[in-house]
Symmetry: C2
Subunit: 400 residues, 2 copies
């Protein structure tokens, strides 16, 4: 855009180009399968010539990449399938949870191109110390980025309630953190890189919703429940994470499953977390609090009665909480993440039984239980993907 007499005309053309680049990029990225220029023209109702010219720009700018020509189902000249480009744009996904620090560099395809993850007990930790350490890890990763890669931004996933848009963490009961300005603690390490802070489960759910390759549409509507020391949750409708009035929706970990249940770290009692959190399962299995869900799995495999009873209590609680969530949100699937993905195959039948008994719409639309990846750093991927979506939403701002 320029300031000459015909500035307005130019600005308007520039803005049309911006809008069309964004339309083409979002259409190409939203497709479960690679699309050709002709298919993008059809989808966007733009002319074939306009689409070709702008796709060329996106390919040169390394937002999209061309795959080998395909002849499948096409008449005439084979089409060139277009896919997200892994080459240039990346974002940094950071994650703190109660047992791990992760920093991940993710590209436009959703792949992790570099990462550093370290286990540790962060319950009751000092935010300044932990975020200082995370900043050092992030700095080292950024210093090692190949020269041609461009960092679109950074996202930080925290297991608690975050005030938006300030990004201030209000409370993370299991870390023992309250009123933490995480961005301030990371400012020196990140320098001019934009940082967005979000809820861990919301961002993990985003990574599930954007999983590639996936069954088309299968991940667009679901309740996400992820186990760790705490239980996080999110609701995804039509591919978008449900926010609610303050960005705090989806907190299934503190849904009450028994008003006479055990104390929860949040101050209430009988929350889902107090039946299905990691330490509760480990204690039930007679294991020390620093054990893993795989240890629980091993004890269950050995037929240990205490472990089996703890898994049954967790399954009943999960079934009850999910039934409440299905009544309130009307979503057709629940995706189990974190520890719950590990123990999922053992408890699935019992959870299904509770849903069949409790959910009034179940005879017409049974809830599907999906075992997620179990990657404890899914939220770091989601935090990076949220930043990369800004590139796709407005590629013109990133093309030089």
């Amino acid at each position: 855009m320029n300031g000459t007499a015909d500035g307005r005309g130019n600005a308007s053309q520039a803005s049309l180009r911006e809008v069309n680049l964004a339309l083409i990029a979002t259409t190409a990225f939203a497709a479960p399968e690679p699309r050709s220029r002709a298919e993008l023209a059809q989808r966007t109702a733009l002319s074939r010539a306009t689409v070709s010219r702008l796709v060329d720009e996106l390919v040169r700018g390394e937002v999209l990449a061309e795959q080998e020509r395909s002849t499948a189902g096409a008449r005439g000249r084979p089409a060139v399938p277009l896919v997200p480009s892994p080459a240039r744009f990346v974002a940094l996904g950071l994650q703190v949870n109660t047992s791990r620090l992760t920093a991940r560099v993710v590209d436009l395809t959703g792949a992790t191109v570099a990462q550093h993850s370290q286990a540790g007990d962060l319950v009751g930790s000092d935010p300044a110390e932990v975020l200082g350490e995370l900043g050092s890890i992030a700095s080292r990763l950024m210093a090692r980025l190949p020269r041609h890669q461009r960092l679109a931004g950074a996202g930080l996933a925290l297991p608690g309630i975050v005030s938006t848009p300030s990004g201030r963490l209000l409370r993370a009961p299991n870390l023992g953190w309250a009123e933490v300005d995480a961005a301030e603690h990371l400012r020196t390490a990140l320098g001019p890189v934009r940082l967005q802070v979000g809820n861990e489960a919301d961002l993990a759910a985003l990574s599930v919703a954007r999983a590639r390759p996936g069954v088309p549409g299968a991940n667009r509507d679901f309740i996400y429940v992820s186990g760790e020391i705490g239980i996080g949750g999110a609701a995804v409708r039509d591919g978008a994470v449900l926010r609610g009035s303050h960005g705090w929706a989806g907190e299934i970990g503190h849904v009450c499953v028994d008003p006479n249940g055990p104390a929860c770290r949040c101050g209430a009692n009988g929350c889902l977390e107090s039946f299905a959190g990691r330490r509760v399962l480990l204690a039930g299995a007679g294991l020390p609090p620093d054990g893993s869900p795989h240890d629980v799995l091993a004890r269950a495999g050995a037929g240990d009665p205490g472990t089996l009873a703890a898994l049954e209590r967790a399954a009943d609680a999960l079934g009850t909480a999910v039934s409440s969530a299905v009544h309130l949100l009307d979503l057709p699937a629940v995706v189990l993440g974190g520890d719950l993905a590990v123990i999922g195959p053992l408890i699935r039948d019992r959870v299904e039984g509770v849903l069949a008994r409790r959910v009034i719409s179940n005879p017409w639309a049974a809830v599907d239980i999906v075992i997620g990846s179990g990657d404890p750093s899914d939220a770091a991927t989601g935090a990076a993907l949220a930043e990369l979506e800004r590139v796709v939403a407005n590629p013109a701002a990133y093309l030089s």
Copy 2:
């Protein structure tokens, strides 16, 4: 539109008029306060001349009405405030619940211009008989509509899960109805009038969200919980009723509040309904099952210990269910309807106490408890308003 050689140009102008009429009407109706032509021009970014011409059309068509000129806050010539017109467009709202049949004629201002409501015990009733009776009531009301009024459509509110868009009732546990094609039963009575079937609580919540006059914005985000023999619920975000994947979201009545709680008519146990439904309250107060919430209020006023204990149990259950709903939906207010509006003032403090103890975000955003109108036929109003919104969304289709 016509089919001549310049049909396309005409069609395009006609469609521009349609779009702009819709934009002006929705903007005028969405405003909490009456707006002038100048304000509508500003809001819609249409020219003052276009707005004036189209507002004149909407006033002639009796979609909008002009109030007396106001001088408040205006410079120059006083502005003419524009409001929904009560004169011409009406819709029929029908409602069946366990203790009442209602048919209501509602105008564009949201006012009831005619109605017939009759109490009766409809638990375990025969759908054909009840809907036949409702059809007769509807026919009589329609026959008495003033000649200048135009019926935009009819809506039927049922206390159960409804399949959309077919309008088939899948299940209403408290009526004892299952798999009912309500539209078919009403076809003879309604003739060519369009009928849309919906969930009672969703439609009652819509009437709350559209309440006039109201505090601007106060009713745009809330959880709605309504008591009768059953407990219905809905979630409203930014003025729209949350639907979920099948239109069944917001069912707070079957949120589990105690896995060891009493049996519920849905087949599960410990649902909110099994603690706060009308018959449970009446039984706790030692009253017969055909009593009213006002009888319960009277016993509580007389200090009857059984009644007070039943109200405490209902308050605890309501607080627990609402806390689960707030965690999942993140909405800032809960509106109590039906019987819960009647007993609301007695239980509000205790419900607030449960929310303060259970909701993890409460210190930063306490949930507001709002006592609704207590009108047992709110859903009939909502059903009519849903039809009238079609007039506002596309006035050109209704202007002759």
